[in-house]
Symmetry: C2
Subunit: 141 residues, 2 copies
DNA sequence: GTATCTGCAAAACATTTGCAATTCT
DNA sequence: AGAATTGCAAATGTTTTGCAGATAC
């Protein structure tokens, strides 16, 4: 991994008022390299070999901080585990019920343009689709 | 509660291949009287006085069975607890981040008419909105 | 009389919390 | 030195599982 990437991430964090600690930089770097909506466990398992002292607590802390500062969004698409998405622009998520993969869908949805409905003020919008993805469809028996 | 209601629920359960046990009838009755997306805990707490032997396990078992048979849908709108919705027709949910209430939104969404996207087959569609509801908005300081 | 349903107790599991040790500036 | 960050260990809270007793057909 090159120094230029690290510096870009450092700048990004500082611009959002986040102290760029080693752990935070590595976690953000991992998110940008793995846009497959990893879970906390996946982030932890992947970075553990390189950062042997890393704890799950730090991953949780860091993701909460990133989420709070608007750097990532946390998606709770059923199941029990939360997934981390470095793309904070509103978009549709499709989850395959066979392989578990989560896909980003670029298709626009009018819901994303609403800022209120029935008198309620809208701050967050999520569209979750579930089914069989194009890969699993073709692998069927 | 009248015998007519019980019979309607019995018929409904039997029509879906579900043995109409006392617990199942009471849980379904509760769901039809309380359309506010109750949690397992709320169902359990409300029925416990009337059915002292009721266990959380039975509520879980029953809701999973109902869900499997298409009688209710289970919604996981962030947080940790699941909510039960006796309305299985696709519709938008709005959750107030202040009071926690979940509202059904009647507004149509084009997403609900899709049955595939980007080559993926869609079986389930969920739209979750979050913000401040019209009641909390007016109660603000 | 056999299959199904119920419910207790324990397990599983993701996430949070308290706090002490470490690391930055 | 002082403030922020890290990470261990324990707690929390929801859901699941194993199994024995009760109930229904």
């Amino acid at each position: 991994m090159n120094a230029q990437t690290i510096n870009k991430i450092k700048d990004l964090l500082e611009k959002h008022g986040i102290q760029p600690s080693y752990q935070r930089i590595k976690i953000m770097e991992f998110l940008y390299k793995n846009k497959n909506h990893p879970t906390i466990e996946e982030i932890y398992n992947n970075l553990s070999p390189e950062i042997p002292t890393l704890s799950r607590t730090t991953v949780y802390n860091t993701i909460h901080l990133f989420n709070q500062k608007g750097l990532v969004s946390v998606i709770c698409i059923d199941e029990k585990e939360m997934h981390v998405d470095p793309d904070v622009k509103p978009h549709i998520h499709f989850k395959c019920i066979k392989c578990g993969r989560i896909y980003d869908i670029k298709e626009p949805a009018e819901v994303f343009s609403w800022d209120s409905i029935d008198g309620h003020i809208i701050y967050e919008k999520e569209i979750f689709l579930k089914g069989i993805c194009k890969h699993c469809k073709n692998e069927s028996i």
